[in-house]
């Protein structure tokens, strides 16, 4: 059974429908990706799935319908989002940002300390800059911090919105390369990306979204050889 099933999901802003009865699933311990151009409704899909936007349809998480729960309750269940805008606490130090990531289980002091050490091991750059204000970090470091902060919540399901946005290709690879190792630690991932090739190389299963609809889906290694995707999204050389 899928860990996350978004069923018949629609999101609208007034009369404009950003997402039209979309269904997406993430298997336990796997990476699913939603690719597609700007304005396809990918960000709306994730924001509504976490509860930041109102939506019709159902979100089934770990066998439970969580559509009526608020954002904070979903986070407490280990369902987390790294948003497109990162939403860091810019005036606060890197370490304070990370500590707040563990707010949803703030009483587990020993375990939170271990998580912090693990994240510093994973991203030594954050360790170097732990006293610095988050707002002074470079783009790549901010993405590392956003990811690290979400990992402090020890998520079971992590949604990543455009982790490559505004980053150099090399840094994008570095960040995407950490995702499979997260899966080995029991985290399932829903990755939203414009950088289709990098996303499909990382993911197990892929969805292609265009103007609010899922137009194609399948195993990532099949999609990456799909002629239609090669011409539109993968830059011709597959």
């Amino acid at each position: 059974m899928a860990l996350l099933a978004i069923e018949d999901f629609s999101v609208s802003y007034g009369k404009a429908e950003a997402v039209r009865s979309v269904s997406v699933e993430v298997e336990k311990g796997r990476i699913a990706t939603v690719i597609g151009p700007n304005g396809a409704g990918k960000t709306s899909l994730l924001n509504a799935a976490i509860g930041l936007l109102p939506a019709s349809g159902r979100v089934i998480y770990d066998g439970e319908d969580i559509s009526r729960l608020d954002v904070e309750q979903r986070v407490e269940m280990g369902f987390c989002l790294v948003p497109e805008r990162r939403e860091l606490f810019g005036e606060m130090s890197v370490e304070d940002n990370l500590r707040l990531g563990a707010y949803s289980h703030r009483r587990a002091h020993a375990q939170n300390k271990r998580s912090l050490d693990e994240i510093y091991d994973r991203f030594p750059r954050l360790m170097e800059r732990r006293r610095q204000a988050a707002g002074t970090l470079s783009g790549g470091e901010r993405q590392m911090l956003a990811l690290g902060r979400a990992l402090m919540a020890r998520p079971k399901l992590l949604m990543l919105d455009e982790p490559s946005l505004g980053l150099a290709p090399l840094i994008t690879r570095e960040i995407l390369a950490t995702l499979p190792s997260l899966c080995e630690n029991g985290v399932s991932i829903l990755l939203v990306e414009q950088n289709a090739r990098a996303a499909l190389e990382t993911a197990d299963f892929g969805y292609v979204m265009e103007t609010g609809d899922i137009v194609r889906s399948g195993p990532a290694d099949a999609l990456i050889h799909d002629p239609m995707l090669i011409t539109t999204y993968l830059g011709g050389h597959g």
Binding site: I50, V71, R85, L88, F89, E91, L100, G101, Y103, A150
Partner: protein
């Protein structure tokens, strides 16, 4: 003006300023977390003074009725909204928070009001009773419009202030009160005599400023409040509830306002509507701090106190005019020097 007079005025001004510091810090705290300029803050201070005075006279203070009425109203609002959200599982917790705790505070004061209590206990009881007022008002008035613009929230704050003044008259009556002095000791610094009350006021302002600093610097709850102030969406994604952060901010702010009310009551006569002017002057201090900086707010509030003290010596009739006219250069200076951040325009 001789040096002696200047010294006396300075001591007086610092004491007045210290009162404003306490209230102004509360303004900044609440604004940062909830974007509400909580105008009725001075009223909270005045109501605390009136509560202490009533307990001194062995009467049941009007605050008991006020808190009970607000608690019942807030509970109704909360229960209806929980039923609408179809989460009845959260009702018991809401009942404890919005009904049981405030009524327990009101009940404790109601039962003990007729007895002669030691001064320290009277003060603690008054503070415990005043603490729920602002969080209950938040639940009833502000939470349904939490996403509104700062200007609308301010307008609502003004309306709420006038409503509270009316309720103050209803619950406390029109008489002014002055409470027993907290201490009769005097201290001598050089040639200047300083009343113990002044020392206590300044000491309390320093103590509570320090506690506030420690709270924000060293506790996760303090950091969560700060995080909510910086980035609401980011905070929610960490599982920090902005409503909860707001409640904590209102509780802390009420504590500060309550303490200032207790400190000012032995020095000034307090009426049901005295809060407004106290609050407004503290607000000038908060504006000097741009409603964001705690240290600049504290300095600004002391400046307001000093200015008021010297102005009342030079020309007593114009002292309010002089105090409020420093707002104009301060606002000009702030609007020229402040860089408007992304967050301001976003919401």
């Amino acid at each position: 003006m001789t040096a002696d007079i200047a010294a006396i005025l300075a001591v007086d001004g610092i004491a007045t300023g210290a009162i404003y510091v306490l209230i102004a810090l509360g303004f900044v705290l609440i604004f940062a977390v909830t974007r509400v300029i909580f105008v009725p803050f001075g009223d909270i201070a005045a109501f605390t003074a009136l509560t202490v005075a009533a307990l001194e006279l062995k009467q049941v203070p009007g605050t008991v009725g006020l808190v009970a009425a607000l608690a019942v109203l807030a509970t109704l609002v909360e229960v209806v909204s929980l039923l609408r959200a179809r989460s009845p599982g959260r009702i018991p917790k809401a009942l404890v928070f919005y009904l049981v705790l405030p009524l327990a505070a009101a009940g404790a004061v109601w039962l003990t009001a007729g007895h002669a209590l030691p001064m320290a206990l009277r003060i603690v009881l008054s503070l415990v009773l005043i603490l729920p007022v602002a969080p209950l008002l938040d639940r009833i008035v502000y939470r349904p419009i939490a996403d509104a613009s700062v200007l609308l929230l301010l307008t609502v704050s003004m309306a709420l202030h006038f409503a509270l003044v009316g309720l103050g008259l209803l619950f406390f009556g029109p008489e002014g009160v002055r409470t027993e002095t907290l201490t009769d000791a005097t201290f001598e610094f050089g040639s200047v005599f300083v009343p113990g009350q002044t020392v206590m006021i300044v000491g309390a302002a320093l103590l509570f400023s320090a506690l506030l600093y420690l709270f924000f610097e060293f506790t996760l709850t303090g950091k969560a409040l700060h995080a909510t102030a910086i980035n609401r969406t980011g905070a929610r994604l960490m599982g920090i509830r902005p409503e909860r952060a707001g409640t904590i901010a209102y509780l802390l702010g009420s504590l500060l306002a309550g303490v200032s009310g207790i400190l000012i009551a032995p020095v000034n006569t307090i009426f049901y509507d005295s809060g407004f002017l106290i609050g407004l002057k503290a607000f000038v201090g908060a504006i000097i701090g741009g409603l964001v900086s705690f240290p600049v707010t504290a300095l600004g509030s002391v400046l307001v106190g000093l200015l008021e003290s010297f102005a009342s010596f030079q020309s007593s009739a114009y002292k309010e005019v002089i105090v409020f006219s420093i707002l104009i250069p301060v606002l000009l200076w702030r609007s020229y020097t402040t860089v408007h951040s992304e967050e301001d325009t976003e919401e």
